[in-house]
Symmetry: C2
Amino acid sequence: MRENLKILAFDVFGTVVDWHGSIQREVNAHWPQIDGDAFALAWRAGYVPAMQRVRSGELGWTRIDDLHRLILETLLPTFGLTHLTQAERQNLNRAWHRLDPWPDVVAGLHRLKTQYTLCTLSNGNLGLLTALSKHGQLPWDCLLSAEVFRAYKPDPATYLGVADVFNVKPAQTALVAAHHDDLAAARACGLVTAYIERPLEYGPHHAKDVSPQAGNDFHAKSFLDLADQLGC
Amino acid sequence: MRENLKILAFDVFGTVVDWHGSIQREVNAHWPQIDGDAFALAWRAGYVPAMQRVRSGELGWTRIDDLHRLILETLLPTFGLTHLTQAERQNLNRAWHRLDPWPDVVAGLHRLKTQYTLCTLSNGNLGLLTALSKHGQLPWDCLLSAEVFRAYKPDPATYLGVADVFNVKPAQTALVAAHHDDLAAARACGLVTAYIERPLEYGPHHAKDVSPQAGNDFHAKSFLDLADQLGC
């Protein structure tokens, strides 16, 4: 156990759950003829630009569920799915509520939970986070989201907000994430940082560089590896 | 299982946890000479007036942790505890983070969780709810609090906020509480209501009327009884 560290806040998409594989599987279960790999990548690629429309003020505060739906509407013509009913579109959009965790996650969280308070820190909305946590049986102590802070990562209000909710110092809080930009923003706010290797985040055909970068306090191959390093 | 009902939102103080017994035990473990029963009742009695100071605008938005501390300061002279250091006062204030659940709670929540999404809806802040849930091993799917909605119960924004977070109708959401006024406010917003008998909420020397009142959809002796009635 690392002294003084109290709170582990986890990025979710890519770090906890395999969005690429889950979306690809769900799309191909319904429509085997569609390139599920391309569909998953295109849906995710719309995510940062959509949040930018909120940040810029073009859109008011919008939950990720609704941003996912906006992006989905733009994908349907490309993938030949304009015949989908409103109910079918809503159900497909809810694929993001059924994302599967990586294989090490549940066991790793249970070990880490014995010595730390575990929360999410995701741009996903609370309803989405609740659904995928129930789906994956993820043992969080608390769900925190951009929705609570009314700001998306990498806004400092999100990282500092975690420390504030638990009435601890930023240095007593760690961000656990598979993305160096997220960790860099957390580090700038004084948080401890832990990088998790997720080489398959974009699927087996799209290599991801998971080599260590300077500045992170921890670099782990999985949540089990992180638990080992933290003595849990 | 009641058709269409999706979300069970639980009041916490008195409904889930035994604040009176827990505070009394903690006070008397440190200071056996103090009337722990009177101390617990006085601390809790300051709670509604303190929230009223926020509602009226006299105080800005304030977490319950800080309201508990304000009330505690007024109690220390009465109970002969003005010699407590700042650290001792803070630790005593954190007694509210260590409240024990009623004996039926953990088993009842596990049964209810198999068919419903379970969340808190408490005026307690997220840090407090997280701590007492970890202490009592309470298997929530999500923690919701006045802190998320920036409004205390019985403000409609809290009850309607639960339905909004999960993107369901108010009628698909139930408030579970041991207090008829809380349930009446939820019912006025269109929520289903479930009353839980907690005859010992104010301790064994202060009787509480737990007889059924018209208007509630469910009246249960415990969370296990509620699980029976909901077919979980």
